[in-house]
Symmetry: C2
Subunit: 590 residues, 2 copies
Amino acid sequence: MDKYEKVIELAKRRGFLWNSFELYGGAAGFYDYGPLGSTLKRRIEQIWRDLYVIHEGFMEIETPTIGIEDVFVASGHVGGFSDPLCECKKCGEAFRADHLVDNIVEVADALSNTELDTIIKDNDIKCPECGGDLGDAYEFNLMFQTAIGPGGGRPGYMRPETAQGMFVNFQRLLKFYRDKLPFGVTQIGKSYRNEISPRQGVIRLREFTQAEAEIFIDPRDKTHPNIERFADTPLNLYSQEGQERGTVEQITIGDALKQGIIAHEFLAYHIALTNHFLQRVGISPEHLRFRQHKKDEMAHYAIDCWDAEIETDRFGWIEVVGIADRTDFDLNAHAKTSKTELSVYIEYDEPKMVTSFVVKPNMGKLGPIFKGKAKVIADALKAMTQEELEHDEIKVVMDGEEFVVPSDLVEFAEETVKVSGENIVPHVIEPSFGIDRILYCTMEHAFNEEMVKAQEGKDEENGNEPEEESRVVFKLKSEVAPVQVAVLPLITKSELITPAKDIVALIRNRGLLVSYDDSGTIGRRYRRNDEIGTPYSITIDYESLDDKSVTIRDRDSMSQVRAPIKDIENVIYSLVYEGKKFRTAGTLVQ
Amino acid sequence: MDKYEKVIELAKRRGFLWNSFELYGGAAGFYDYGPLGSTLKRRIEQIWRDLYVIHEGFMEIETPTIGIEDVFVASGHVGGFSDPLCECKKCGEAFRADHLVDNIVEVADALSNTELDTIIKDNDIKCPECGGDLGDAYEFNLMFQTAIGPGGGRPGYMRPETAQGMFVNFQRLLKFYRDKLPFGVTQIGKSYRNEISPRQGVIRLREFTQAEAEIFIDPRDKTHPNIERFADTPLNLYSQEGQERGTVEQITIGDALKQGIIAHEFLAYHIALTNHFLQRVGISPEHLRFRQHKKDEMAHYAIDCWDAEIETDRFGWIEVVGIADRTDFDLNAHAKTSKTELSVYIEYDEPKMVTSFVVKPNMGKLGPIFKGKAKVIADALKAMTQEELEHDEIKVVMDGEEFVVPSDLVEFAEETVKVSGENIVPHVIEPSFGIDRILYCTMEHAFNEEMVKAQEGKDEENGNEPEEESRVVFKLKSEVAPVQVAVLPLITKSELITPAKDIVALIRNRGLLVSYDDSGTIGRRYRRNDEIGTPYSITIDYESLDDKSVTIRDRDSMSQVRAPIKDIENVIYSLVYEGKKFRTAGTLVQ
């Protein structure tokens, strides 16, 4: 078993992840989050909200997962959100054409369908399922399509990203933020991608959760007011140059900016914030790097783009976050399709005097002469230059027809006016997180098998050297662990069960997720909780009835402290959320 | 403007609710939650989680919003989740046929399509849009359909409820809860309903959020261990009998159980818990009632079903929660379709001796005689009665063919065996919450227009009697208010801005959502915060620089206290979350 298999086996057995629709044979690309997985996911999202919504002040919005066609025409998804599909002529199985050749060429996903066909033919690639001949590659759109309303309705699509719901609300958001840049907005929710043939378990899902921020900034000022916060933060950067050399470099944000590796401060700040988030949820820094998009891989409109990549045992380095400067691309695209100006009026510090050439056709005189055409002729005149207008008879040509306008029907002059500001299309910085992949990596990095003294919790006073046994332990950060504390009466007798349940109630009222377990030996119960990552276990024994104290066990060190029942809920809360050191939670039990 | 219009106007203007896709002309049945609406929604969901997940211990799971066909064939949605649709022959507009006749008959939604056609014809009902003739009513399935995978793929549906994702995981969940009843599981997420013609704004959405719990209980024991908690809770019950009389009765849970109005304790407990939740998020109890489903409206399999209904200004009483005893219907439906046993093995307190008639065909002798048919003949023998078997030659008839089996090839006898338990299909108690409607009602019930002294916050020492002015105030419970505290420097000068921003940082670090506002008079800023329901505002004035204190203003009473800056974040936290009384937060400012 590789580590992926071990993690998934545990995840399925203990209620983190389940194959969806298993009762009916399942469906590739869909996973259920069981009780523990769903709770872990909520906690990861909560940390994201704490950083982005509470601390950065990027308010969260929630827009529908079903979208109408116009939105995705503008965004380019109707036209271009596709993968090359190749079907077996014999068995009909469908494959990603680029995946069929990715051990032959280096950047398979940059090839055209014709190039893919040629490589498949030249290398005599056959259907991996049945050996049959493969058909030509064609583009398969990855949006799930549906219809809104009866009678075929209007076309609807399951959104491929949460981002568009924020772009189309630009005007509303700008008003909410009182017409001032920069401002940010976030969304956490489901997105969909109708993968041709998903074969990587939880790494490639057809329905997944994104957490995205769209930050609208003044294109003329890409500094960040808090960049100092991260100036000395070291990151593993895998820059364009580094990729050519094949080396990842550890460098501080400040130095990366000085050396021009990262385009600007605003992007650098968000790379650093992503790094902070990933480490806070439990990604180990030595398996985390930031890879810059190469020039030929970056979208044509983007200024700079970095992916956070995490190293996994089976899949190698996988992309979990993208952080891009998307410029004004998205707003312009929606402005064009919706025929609406999407910009911000920015006042100058000082008004400017601007000289321009102004044409004023006399509508009162044009009207009687040109009747229905007067308006379009006037518009044509307004667009003419001084040279074209300086004639006694001005010639206007429209659709092949020529109109002659006497010069006394048009006034024109250079005018100087005071302009106090201008409309600017903001640029967008977009950090986009794949929550499901981050969750999986959190589990993989927390997964440990280790040798420990056997029979923990049992009486060891028989003098024998304790034997060793292996334990599986999910060393999840206590802030993300699904079950935050387990309460265990030492033996299943009512005189211990009753006070144990009272402690459960106390801790629940503090808003913590607590489990109660009285079945099996105490050692077995510790192991069960180790396996699901419960950071602390409280044991109630007969002594507790006298000294009104309990034992708290720390999952990672397996050491124990004795602490009073009174205030136990606040002690646990501080351990979980406030970084309280375990050794300060009570008197160390030797 | 009626109250709905007033609430929606405010909701749109201030960023609670927006029509989706407005930039492209919108689409009926879809709403966006803006920054404040989304935050309000998160807080309502958080309270639900606190009650159901943390306190009841019903762990949350997360299953896909796209489902495969088998699931919805089993659940009955493919066959029966539809509304009667009626199209205009002239303009093609589609209508709910039952809505067209609902001012003519009393229970329009109970009519068959033929009955609807007759009523439409007899009453000469025409198209409400163009006056044209209406076509016959037919059933329109309300699930959004899509296809999973390429080449037409397999049919997929956007789930119409979150419940099925929990039912199909029954076996996994049972194992998670160590094979013991009762246990509960919850899910909060999107559900979809492709409404024919949604015309009630946020009340009838095509994409909406549900919070559902499925609680699996032993059908032989529907008592609830904590029923005493709610025994004295008074509820407005609109029972089957009450509906006949047309009266809502205020009665305690305990009395409702004694009088047999509610079927059993377990259901009663969950009606009371629903009541507790709705009041905690801010629904006013005088506009809340529980309506029992009438016999002809209840699903045939249900034992008892109650809807929580909230009174609204425009729509009258609307259903926001359903609480039902669905018996073993859902598990049986999935067991049948998936051919899998979905039950719990329950051990008896004492093993029972059970006598049964057992037939043992001698396969070693049957085989050589009947060859390929030996197995089916043996099965047929096993199903026979003692009378049928007590012959020298036993006749077995299968598919018209007769087989004669000599009696010495079959042994049979009554046997008594010890049985220590049995398999039981649990019953399901399902509280199902419509979060969007609850959110709207929370806003409507919190919406207030009132007359207050004019010029609040201005210097009133000029001796004039203050005039009155009206203010709009969202009296949201502080636990659900999106912005929890506003920080306002009295005037926009850096010596006040700097300490104000320090306070913002302090409060953010306590995990609270704080806004900073320095534009306009202090009175206008108070009004702005009243309008979005911010429960507390902190004002920093010149005195603050000397006495290191600030003024906290209470939204509802508009009274103010003076409190030290040190510890201000904990004071606000206690006010918002821990029920601290405002008067105890500092020294009252007269």
